[in-house]
Amino acid sequence: MSQSNQPNRLRQGGRIDRARTLGFTFNGKRYQGHAGDTLASALLANGVDVVNRSFKYSRPRGIVAAGAEEPNALVQLGSTEAAQVPNVRATQQALFEGLTAQSTNGWPNVQRDVMSLVGKLGGRFMPPGFYYKTFMAPASMWMTYEKVIRKGAGLGRSPMENDPDSYDHLNQHCDLLVVGAGPAGLAAALTAARAGARVILCDEQEEMGGSLLASRERLDDQPAAEWAERVIDELAENDKVTLLPRTTANGYHDHHFVTLHERRTEHLGETAPRVDGHRSSRSRMHRVRAGQVLLATGAHERPLVYGNNDVPGNLVAGAVSTYIRRYGVVPGNKLVLSVSNDHAYRAALDWDEAGREVVAIVDARRHPDGELVEQARARGIRIIEGSAVLEAKGDKRVSGARVATIDAAAFKVTGQAELLECDTIASSGGYSPVIHLASHTGARPTWDEEILGFVPSLVRGVHAAGSARGVHDLAEGLADGAAKASEALAALGKSASAIEPPRAETIREGEACALYQVPHEKPTLRAPKQFVDMQNDVTAAAIELATREGFESIEHVKRYTAMGFGTDQGKLGNINGMAIAARCLGRSIPEVGTTVFRPNYTPVTFGAIVGRHCRELFDPERYTALHQWHVENGAEFEDVGQWKRPWYFPRKVNGKLETMDEAVARESLAVRSGVGILDASTLGKIDIQGPDAREFLGRVYTNKWAKLAPGRVRYGLMCKDDGMLMDDGTTSCLGENHFLMTTTTGGAAGVMEWLELWHQTEWPELQVTFTSVTDHWATMTVTGPDARKLLSEITDIDLDREQFKFMDWRNGKVADVPARVFRISFTGELAYEINVQANYAMHVWKTLFEHGKKYDLTPYGTETMHVLRAEKGLIIAGQDTDGSVTPEDLGMFWAIGYDKPFSWIGKRALTRPDTARKDRKQFVGLKPVDPKVVLEEGAHIVVDKDQPIPMDMLGHVTSSYYSPNLESGFALAVIKGGRDRMGEKLHVPMPDGQAHEVEVVSPVFIDPKGERQHV
């Protein structure tokens, strides 16, 4: 172990394990750190100043903060392609042996960056809205510009290979969810745990304890961190408490549903380690439904906004203390501290104790007099009162600070500037409560003038404690956490007495002053760049310019400048930005607006969002009972809803597999000339029973059901009450009070809910029940001139044409198993739909093929089914209709029961003026004049193909195929006033400029009298 290669590592102190040295690589260079380091603390220990290039100006950037609020230190992790993780904050990434990271921005590298030329020269030429204004025209070029800009500016990149890791979801319930394990959170969790409540305590850091881990304060006369350890030990032993370190509460959703992202293995290696040969899950999304939620999320320190405040070596004051006290790293040699409050004096005291030089504390207040100020004075630290750092000097590292007296209220520099030589400037403009989760509820935060920050507004059941609501004092924060926890439990009807918090010394602090942007001798627009949002390179000048250009609403200012739009969501910059907008507009901060946040608090990897719901588990696939046969017989499949349906069955002909067109032509001819078979099991089936079943059918279908006798089948149209067709199908009368309804494959669930809706909400007096039986019955359609011959070989049902007519159904046996056979036809040919219990289906199907060999029984799929039904002009609801087509538009007057006694669903609407229009689009057939043409489905139809655009569109093609039976293309369409246009020649213009001539014909192309299905 060598200290010398970690120049900024202190000899002692911190919570790192000095006995464990870890090697890592950053931008191709090898470094060493210790177990317990973050990547950021290890980089600082090694004296790495420049960790990134800025997004827009390509300026060198260093580490600013020590937690989730870090705007600059974004890295790309991963030594292999599959392990790439973009935009990881180095301040939140635990160090592990072999960690490999690269700067997110900076091409070709951070030290020498080609974009810096543009940035430095072009800096003043890149005002807000630069990209909108410059690169938008011509619009077609934006994609090209964007690629170049993205490569130059960089935003991290996704891996190009599959992620080897898996991710989990876990549903959780608890009485109290405590977010944040700092002083308030620990006191709250302890209070709830001791009261016997079910508690989940989560914290985003590697180690629980929050500010206590780096605190100078003592609790019960011991270091604060020791109290934290004792509390965590007690909570860990309580089996009603779930402790989740490395777990970020990223989103508060409705009704106390909070998503927690637990990083389970990110601290161990690039990919999840194997346990017993299996990879453990890399991260886990806890979907927590909490009884009450307590936010103890702490506060983020606001940096001051001064010239060149982005040069590496500028940090927020609290981060300096965290690096020194928690990681044993002092990120520089000579410190200038610029503050508006007492609290931040701790940074200088810690720096001094680390044995490095505090050049000066520059305090914006004229007479600071708190206890910490006195301690600093007593150590002989120079305090420059009524002043602030105007500007940092330096390029890739701070080399000095220009300091002068200021009048913050008048926004003026009042004295002569002095240049202090230093390599580090730490600043503090106050503390902003972390109100993100409370904002997710939709409750607008309110400005608290006393703490100079927004405090959360809370919906019922959500509580905030400690710094998260502006109670920054340690002793008060501990008591607040305990008190709020007992309030939360009281709301659940559980009593919990707040724990006695540990004794904390009270430090008398002087009043803070309001300071956001530090004035400069030059006006803001000409002063050195004063950065507000470092991740998006938004400066004070940009905000001022936005207000001058008329953007008065803070929401518009944000969008115009992109302030707060980075992966950090403006955690450091938003309040400063609002304060600057307020100054420019001459208003107060609360008048300018408030700042709200959306989920997620920090970026969440897609893997954790997806969990196990990916690949084969993304969406369930439904298979029919015959699926295996289809697979073995070479079917190509089509997705219909969640179902996998055979699309067509290509055969090998002369050693070559048929194309779809060839297969469909063969299958179609086989059905019309011999016999074919279709697996129709996916059709929705609903069993309807009850004394009022018949009455109910009469109300939901357009046609009549009063006289349908047992053994008979009828086709029905189902409309919504606006008169538009929603679904169709056949319904069979199984008994006087018993019916079997079929629906379209995709409409099954919707129809079921539709029937329940009307029964439960409008006609509960009707005695009728509905049961989905789709999966219980397999359906095999045997169709074609030879269908009767084939089926007669394996059934005991009398198939005599007079005994078993078209639209009859019979009970009996097929292939020795019980079956219902329906004589209904979707092809126009003689057809039998055989329904058997699904587990018998394969046996029956195979028996049919054994007997069908001599008839050349041909399996066909959905494509041939579509062609055959379209030749007969039979609609598919959802393809030939789209929710704006009535039964009358379809010309199906024969299926409309105008004189039924009950005003069935959809009837009244048919006489609405719009529905009764004569020029509504009506269902017709189209025959291309050139028989080789197959029209495009969706193509529009016009009268005059030479009419200039926009043309008058008459309607569109709904179905179009090539018919091997007609030896021609043909189509179904909806056309304005179509039924009066029979024989008219119209045109279908295509994008390539040609227009197909078509003749309007009847939608029934084959066997218009329906003789073939009646044989």
Binding site: D722, L757, Q760, T761, K907, R908, R912, P913
Partner: protein, 124 residues
């Protein structure tokens, strides 16, 4: 994601088990044939879109398949109550704090504890 008390199952379940079906208490006119076109059009197409208390029809689609009503605040997303078909809501735009218990004679909510839970809208 909402946490919804199904008044038939008498349990809180996650929103993903339910389907929203639009505004509640839209009764189909008794005799559609005597409705004017305007009345029929109002029934078909016109719905309220209040900011605040709203009565909605939902169905426990992958639970008990029962339809029921929810009184919900469309601004805060708070669910004030759920009630069965045929029951009257206790909470409404006119009575945002809920109608008094005497008035609620017709209101058929399970019990007082259930009522408190409904007001909370959410409960672990």
């Amino acid at each position: 994601m909402f946490y919804i008390h199904c008044p038939y199952c008498d349990e809180y379940r996650d929103e993903e088990e339910f389907h929203p079906k639009g505004q509640a208490h839209i009764a189909r006119p008794e005799d559609p044939e005597t409705c004017s076109d305007e009345e029929w059009g109002d029934y078909l197409f016109f719905r309220d879109n209040p900011r605040g208390i709203h009565h909605e029809l939902w169905v426990h689609a992958i639970g008990c398949r029962k339809f029921f009503n929810i009184t919900r605040n469309s601004a805060s997303y708070e669910i004030l109550e759920t009630y069965r078909m045929g029951e009257r809501p206790r909470f409404s735009a006119e009575h945002p704090q809920g109608e008094s218990a005497e008035h609620g004679a017709a209101v058929n909510v399970a019990d007082e504890a259930g009522r408190v839970a409904d007001q909370e809208g959410v409960r672990a």
